[in-house]
Symmetry: C2
Subunit: 435 residues, 2 copies
């Protein structure tokens, strides 16, 4: 059986684009063996075709003219690896409308314009794949769309930003937030302006995409409650250690009835939880569903070659499935509402600085009880003439925890700090030790 | 677009078969939404159609006549969930030859007759899928065959038997091997005759399948070096704890040049390694490759519903891809040789009982040096008038470690025990503590 020649085009030829080119050339035989199709990079859109590149493209491949790709009828598959919302978004839309299947590594594009792009793909009878937009080479999108269709996934928990995970790992090793951030910047894990990572916005886009695919319902980026790691202190780290837990930036999507809650923020993760061992710049996603109980995927969440590997896998899936309709239809999305922000229950770790005298504990306990929050564990430590209370609660809605904290802060005995972090644990919170 | 009606048949209707039926009925809408095909269980082969079942089948579905399935031309997809080598193997072969795609959950069948079955599928132009044969709902086969085609996976490490992992977890909690095994039997994790699990044979079949798919080369079951957990003692467990490691039954497949090494046996796993946190009856597989570095998947490795979920996902993949050739061809397998058993290098933990007197350490060190084995860490503990030496070595070939142990056992100063376990660690062995 002679292989089908498949000319494909790239939008962008930077780190990821040139790695895609290299993988496609090096793996052409394996791809042909698996699919009967031979991929070939025919065109790559760049700003300046004369510039020198990491992986040399043959003469004539590089072009600065989008029309050279759009108007080349032989090109049926295009990978968008240029990044940014514009012009990438309009290019992708135009390609889908003209009958080309598109692979994109662009999480902001999928999170912000996904609805429009999926509709265009459905109308054009083509595929839009985006594995590389979430956690690089970890194939969580493919699993959700193809392996877990019948499992009714109801919860997704993830460490989906390597930069913040690296910073938190460094803080656990004793560095300050500032030093850890500087080290991340030195190693190239963090940008000069780290806001997108440390503010939780990168994780928010990925978590919105995961929720959309897992629940089969559009979850707009604006629905995601976002909190970054700038507020995490070494006190949180050492309290976590004493509880045999780790501080992680967790993206969490939950379906409650026909409503959805999606949030990103720091959380305490029990040492025995599969997400606890995810160190440094790695990512991991846990999917919980009826038939599967839970499946966790872990791996590198970034990197040019890792991202390129996911882009090529998507191109392979397209050439291997074109014509059958397998997972290429825009599904009939479910209509789910957003769960009001305060309603999602979780166990919490509370850290309360208070005056160290008789009766204070009773006042605190009273405020918690007023909000219906029950205490699983409590440790009091002296601190500079005052005391710090470490409290682990049973499950309580976020809104009630917030209300209790506000009430505690207003007490005359409060000495300023009254903060809360959700707790992630497979064990009951009663079993959590305090070493 | 009207859905395509797809009558499918089951061979077997026990725990997994009836769970498949239930999932197909409950998820028919979701499957149709994703693939345009509506699955329907039309026939199920059982020994006694009159017996009462867990999930009731409609009248006429159950049959004790294989010919009723074989000769029904409307049935294009069959799931084999009856287990055992015969008659399951001949049924599957006959179905593939008659143009039916087959899904199987039968690891012994795939490990022992895979070559023959894949050839029949290729010749019949149909698909043979077997996700459920390895680690139930963890979709490692799909990932290897569809997402990781271009990543050149060179190493697979897995905890692929839940029974032994449960027993080892219980032993870490202080139980003896016998008590832990009895508890596993009480909970239904282990059979009355536990040989298949504790002897490592179940893990060997799964590891052979993983190696075959990961390396694109037939790895016969006879190539797998198998060691079970019966030799693991509480002494091993406590030594592991002191080294901040866990004892796990590890399946390991490695490609070295154009040769393959596949083995199953107990190993020490560093606490920070992704496989260390896999507790109880869970399974996990780590895939290491060029472009992806490493991806780890963790989840329940057994269970009727979990296995059924993988069977249904495979049926969905078949109906979604039939006609395109996507990954349904029998690939042009590579010709790889088996690496001689002693040549695979690994760091090792050695436990040596010796006479407690001057000069013994020098004799031991001499025997290790003679085999070119270098020592990373060494701790000597007194024990009943004698001494126990705990040694962590740098990487050394298994054969040389075996030779050194034999020489040490033959020393006049030996007091009987001289055993070795491989060490799994992402860190250099120098960094491993001894708490």
């Amino acid at each position: 059986m002679a292989a089908v020649d498949v000319p494909v085009a790239l939008l962008g030829y930077g780190t990821v684009g040139s790695a895609v080119h290299r993988l496609v050339e090096e793996s052409a035989d394996e791809i042909e063996r698996s699919t009967g199709h031979r991929l070939r990079i025919a065109r790559a859109l760049v700003r300046d075709p004369a510039r020198e590149r990491q992986f040399t493209a043959d003469g004539g491949v590089l072009t600065d003219d989008f029309a050279a790709i759009r108007d080349d009828a032989s090109i049926k598959v295009v990978a968008e690896v240029m990044g940014g919302l514009e012009p990438a978004g309009d290019y992708v839309l135009e390609l889908l409308r003209s009958g080309r299947s598109v692979v994109t590594a662009n999480k902001q594009l999928v999170a912000r314009r996904g609805s429009e792009l999926f509709r265009a793909a459905a109308e054009g009878g083509v595929q839009l794949r985006f594995e590389a937009s979430v956690c690089a080479a970890i194939p969580v999108i493919k699993l959700l769309r193809e392996s877990l269709i019948v499992t009714n996934v109801h919860r997704v928990l993830g460490i989906v930003n390597g930069t913040t995970n690296f910073i938190l790992s460094e803080m656990e090793a004793g560095r300050s937030y500032g030093d850890a951030l500087a080290e991340a910047q030195r190693l190239g894990f963090a940008e000069a302006d780290p806001t997108d990572d440390v503010g939780g916005f990168d994780a928010a886009a990925k978590t919105a995409i995961l929720a959309t695919v897992a629940f089969g319902s559009r979850v707009p980026l604006e629905w995601v409650e976002v909190d970054g790691i700038a507020g995490v202190t070494l006190d949180h780290i050492s309290a976590a250690r004493a509880l045999e837990m780790h501080v992680k930036l967790i993206g969490r999507a939950t379906i409650v009835g026909d409503r959805v809650d999606v949030r990103v923020g720091p959380a305490l993760v029990d040492r025995r939880h599969p997400l606890a061992a995810v160190d440094g710049a790695f990512n991991a996603v846990m999917l919980q569903g009826d038939a599967i109980r839970e499946i966790t995927l872990e791996g590198p969440g970034a990197g040019g070659m890792e991202t390129a590997s996911a882009v090529v896998a998507d191109m392979v899936s397209i050439v291997g499935t074109t014509g059958t309709g397998f997972l290429q239809n825009d599904p009939v999305w479910r209509e789910l509402d957003r769960l009001p922000a305060g309603e999602l229950p979780s166990p919490y770790y509370l850290r309360l600085a208070v005056e160290d005298r008789a009766g204070v504990l009773a006042r605190i306990a009273h405020e918690l009880a007023r909000e219906g929050i029950s205490v699983a564990r409590l440790v009091q430590q002296p601190a500079d003439g005052n005391a710090v209370l470490h409290v682990v609660t049973h499950e309580a809605p976020a809104g009630r925890v917030g209300a209790a904290l506000a009430a505690i802060r207003a007490l005359g005995e409060s000495r300023g700090e009254a903060s809360a972090l959700p707790v992630v644990s497979d064990r009951g919170v009663e079993e959590l030790g305090w070493a």
